[in-house]
């Protein structure tokens, strides 16, 4: 009886099943593609919102932005000139359209304070901020994941110590931690330079030395977040049935932890990393000021203080592009790690 019953996997069904399998693989790739398409689709309104934000604010400003920028010292001629330069004599939507159409062709206008093209000052500073962010990201992944796995497997005292450390690094403001690092490691111990940045092209060794303290301060918070998430999901996965069943069939402890559990646990960690990277952008603004690092963060702060609106706006757009790229990478990593690629 049993032998004659039609196998759901029997030969007669084979061809259609193969078709389904291929289709399935096709759709799982397709799902990733549609996820990416959706990201790109939301990137457009995101960029529009950020770039138009400024124009909206300027039109809402009581009085006139040009007046405000000049303060009480400006002459009427200066005032008119500034109005024309800012395009304030045009309606808001025309101002924005003008900015948008030249921005698309790479012209973000000139800095009000220095008169140089905004794009130039941004491109010269991108490597600096990128060094900081990528460095902090690497530290977060390496230190965060290893501490997280370690405290998940060991637990006990080490787990609690990691917990306390995570809480502390969350509570201490990043600019304050940066200052303390300067006191201890630059002033007292003189291991690293206190301030400034050395370009990689000048001296790779000095470049690395100048990055150690800012990257340490900047990455502390995201290390803590990665440790917490890694431990949570490692504990979760290690308690799952498939780990137990792999163990029941002889898979070694090392492989269970570092291959099976870690790959599964990495999926939510990637999401946290994405959020943390966006947080690092904000942290870089503060850290660059603490360490006098000439990156985009110190550029935007300086420009905001000097009311250099074209520069501020262009940096905001640039950061938004970075955010879009980060989210895209998170989606891609997610698709690589998780064969089920459930929609985010």
């Amino acid at each position: 009886m049993a032998n004659t019953s039609v196998d759901a996997m029997g030969a007669p069904l084979t061809r259609s099943r193969r078709g389904r399998a291929i289709r399935r693989r096709g759709t799982s790739g397709g799902r990733l593609a549609s996820l990416l398409a959706r990201r790109m689709f939301t990137a457009v309104p995101l960029l529009l919102v950020v770039s138009s934000f400024n124009f909206l604010l300027l039109s809402l400003t009581p009085g006139d932005a040009a007046r405000q920028m000049l303060g009480s010292s400006g002459t009427p001629e200066q005032y008119e000139a500034l109005r024309r330069q800012l395009g304030l004599d045009l309606p808001v939507y025309e101002q924005y359209w003008g900015w948008l159409s030249s921005a698309v062709s790479g012209d973000f206008g000139n800095s009000i304070t220095s008169g140089t093209p905004v794009l130039e000052s941004i491109t010269s500073r991108v490597p600096v901020t990128l060094s900081l962010i990528v460095g902090s990201l690497l530290v977060s992944v390496v230190v965060g994941v290893s501490l997280g796995v370690f405290s998940a497997v060991r637990g006990g005292v080490i787990g609690r110590a990691v917990d306390a450390l995570a809480l502390l690094s969350w509570a201490l403001p990043v600019f304050w931690v940066g200052s303390v690092l300067v006191v201890v490691f630059a002033i007292k111990l003189e291991w690293f330079p206190a301030l400034g940045y050395v370009p990689f092209t000048e001296s790779p060794q000095e470049w690395a030395r100048s990055l150690v303290l800012p990257v340490t301060a900047l990455s502390l918070g995201s290390v803590a977040a990665v440790v917490k998430q890694t431990r949570e999901s490692m504990l979760d996965v290690l308690g799952s049935e498939y780990i137990r069943m792999a163990a029941a069939n002889g898979v070694s402890r090392t492989s269970l932890i570092y291959r099976h559990a870690l790959k599964n646990a990495a999926i939510p960690v990637v999401t946290v990393l994405g959020v943390q990277t966006i947080g690092l952008l904000g942290g870089a603004v503060l850290i660059e000021s603490v360490f006098s690092v000439p990156g985009l963060g110190s550029l935007v702060v300086g420009s905001a203080l000097a009311h250099d609106i074209p520069t501020v706006q262009a940096v905001a757009v640039f950061f938004t592009v970075v955010v879009v790229v980060v989210n895209l990478s998170v989606d891609l990593a997610y698709g690589l790690l998780n064969p089920r690629v459930s929609a985010a």
Partner: protein, 644 residues
């Protein structure tokens, strides 16, 4: 229709009740946090009034500039000769005002929008969530700086912007908390009784979601504080001479080389306040989830698992010539109220190449016994006493690394749920090849070929294609074949199959059992088949162990057990087996349920459900009575019961 029913349900609706507040107040940490924040508020209100000159003081006594703490200046003097303590106290106001402004916006936007999204659902919900995700992916600090470039030095503009950008975080939390509440009976009842939507949301839903709101709000308050102090540090708000905590850190950084002390007082003030917000949120969450059980422990054996210290030497290495001899196995699980026994003195043997069925209802300790054999109990389970003699060794006395060598290589294991037994992140072929590599020491290339062979042996068509799939791309029946293939990877002498067909369709069940039978015949492999289906036992097994409430109730050859069962439980099981029924008869069931571990009765564990029970059954432990050469039953009246 009257509203008495919803009223009755309403009284049961959980919310931020006085009980919850009491629970919160029992936590010393929560009280400390609340007290600290209350003191801060008092300082923020009073200090600028009591020290009116501090707010605009540009410079103090420059002679004392950069002095450390002293009696006159408990927290020292800054670079312009001003008292640090006074500035810290007065600066509390602008710092807290920023937090309050941001939080007002977050709460005003987050709560209503989140409630609406969660309560209405559908398109409204999807639109709100899309927008929330969009806003959450904006670089918040940069946008705040954009605002400050247009509204210089405006704390309100900056913090309102931050509030708008942070509100979607609260929207998501409120929505997620509202979704399940909407489905609650008392909300449905309120809807049916004609209450207005607004009334239901504010009266019935809002109180229920207050807990998550408070938790999220305290975290956001901490974030707002960090942003406010950061902006003040950058002098984007609260410009000098106005004192603020962030600005004071900046002053301190400016004088870092001369006086490193100055960054400490404002830094600690910020850190303590952030901690107060964060720990308060934790305390609220913990008070809300009090009474939840802790996460189950790792099933992984301890790396340094010490071999049990009891007198293992007293046991002969081998009892008769069985492959597996379980002797007096007793297992208990650790619970918050102490250890609870789940398996109580179980003994049985499995000879080489033999199939032994272990039967019983759910909760009789069958799976626990099976997992105890390979020492993978997990969830706080441990072997209290007894021996698991396998091929000349006591597995219960082995170290974790020695056990690892036994698992897979000598004993294979097939579990109940094939869909959760395979790692979802790896391809089938890879998982099989790994099992082959570990259990046979084959090379990588060879193990890959072997994996495909194994898939062929479990009769999967197109094994090459199956090897390239992920577990989620398989049907239940295919997955169970893969699981069987993995268990065979190390060519084990014993296969433990724990309800291998329970989760499958009936036709697939038959095929998997056929497969097991074929494999056993070809490989002369012993099988321990755990099942609750006597039909399967009759079909597959040579001998049977009937378990009830952690004990062996009866042990016999399969023919004897079905022909002359001697335990009332076995008889009841046989009677309730649908395979034995004629079409006309009503299927008899065993009244009552298997008692949970920890609540086993005195004496015979089956006696409360037994028609034959007498007073004697409940007094002493019942021993296994010998009935035949290989037939035993745990019943005082075993000799009086015969035939079906």
């Amino acid at each position: 229709m009257t509203v008495t029913v919803p009223d009755a349900e309403l009284s049961a609706s959980p919310s931020v009740s006085p009980r919850f507040v009491r629970r919160l107040m029992r936590r010393p940490l929560a009280i400390v946090c609340l007290a600290y924040l209350a003191i801060l508020v008092v300082i923020a209100v009073a200090a600028p009034m009591l020290l009116p000159h501090v707010g605009t003081e540009r410079a103090g006594d420059l002679g004392t500039a950069l002095q450390g703490p002293s009696a006159a200046h408990p927290l020292g003097v800054d670079s312009l000769g001003r008292d640090v303590l006074q500035r810290l106290l007065v600066g509390t106001r602008v710092t807290l005002v920023g937090v309050v402004e941001a939080m007002a916006v977050v709460l005003a936007l987050g709560i209503p929008i989140g409630l609406v999204a969660g309560y209405l659902g559908g398109k409204t919900d999807r639109a709100i969530i899309w927008l929330a995700d969009l806003v959450l992916s904006l670089p918040a600090i940069i946008l705040v700086i954009v605002v400050l470039s247009v509204f210089p030095q405006s704390v309100t503009a900056a913090m309102v912007t931050l509030g708008v950008l942070a509100a979607p975080g609260l929207v998501r939390v409120v929505r997620a908390a509202t979704l399940p509440v909407r489905e609650q009976l008392y909300v449905a009842a309120a809807r049916v009784s004609g209450m207005s939507r607004t009334y239901i949301i504010t009266r019935h839903v809002l109180p229920r979601v207050m807990g998550p709101i408070v938790v999220q709000a305290s975290l956001l308050a901490a974030t707002a504080l960090l942003v406010q102090t950061g902006l003040a540090f950058l002098a984007l708000i609260a410009a000098p001479p106005e004192p603020s905590w962030g600005g004071m850190v900046a002053d301190g950084v400016g004088a870092l080389f001369q006086q490193p002390w100055l960054i400490w007082p404002p830094g600690l003030a910020i850190a303590l306040t952030v901690l107060a917000f964060g720990l308060l949120g934790d305390a609220v969450r913990d008070a809300g989830t009090e009474g939840w059980s802790a996460k189950s422990a790792l099933p992984l054996g301890d790396k340094h698992r010490s071999a049990p210290t009891r007198a293992a030497a007293a046991v002969p290495a081998r009892i008769n010539d069985s492959l597996l001899s379980v002797r007096d196995l007793t297992v208990s699980y650790a619970t918050p109220t102490g250890p609870i026994r789940a398996v109580d003195g179980v003994s049985f043997d499995i000879a080489r190449g033999e199939t032994v069925g272990v039967v019983g209802e759910s909760g009789c300790g069958k799976t626990t016994t099976a997992l105890a054999i390979i020492a993978l109990l997990g969830g706080g389970g441990r072997i209290d006493s007894g021996h698991v003699l396998f091929d000349g060794r006591d597995l219960a006395a082995l170290s974790e690394s020695e056990l690892q060598a036994v698992r897979g290589t000598e004993i294979g294991y097939v579990s109940q749920e094939p869909m959760v037994a395979l790692d979802p992140a790896f391809r089938i072929g890879w998982q099989l090849a790994e099992a082959v590599r570990i259990n046979t020491g084959m090379s990588r290339a060879k193990s890959k070929r072997r994996a495909v062979e194994l898939l062929e042996q479990v009769q999967l068509p197109e094994p090459h294609l199956v090897a390239r799939r992920y577990p989620h791309e398989l049907s239940g029946g295919m997955a169970q074949r893969v699981v069987v293939a993995r268990a065979l990877a190390g060519e084990p002498k014993l296969l433990i199959a724990d309800e291998p067909t329970t989760a499958l369709d009936v036709t697939i069940q038959v095929e998997i059992l056929d497969l097991l039978r074929t494999l056993q015949r070809d490989r002369a492999m012993a099988i321990m088949l755990v099942t609750h289906d006597l039909g399967v036992v009759a079909d597959m097994c040579d001998r049977v162990v009937v378990m009830y409430a952690g004990q062996v109730a009866e042990r016999a050859d399969v023919k004897e057990l079905f022909g002359t069962p001697h335990h009332p439980y076995t008889r009841a099981l046989l009677a309730s087996n649908p395979h034995n029924q004629h079409n006309s008869a009503v299927l008899p069931t065993i009244p009552g349920a298997v008692p949970m571990p920890g609540s086993w009765p005195q004496g015979c564990h089956f006696q409360p459900r037994c028609a034959r029970a007498t007073d004697q059954c409940g007094s002493d432990e019942i021993p296994l009575l010998k009935i035949g050469a290989s037939h035993e039953a745990r019943c005082l009246y075993a000799h009086q019961i015969e035939g079906v």
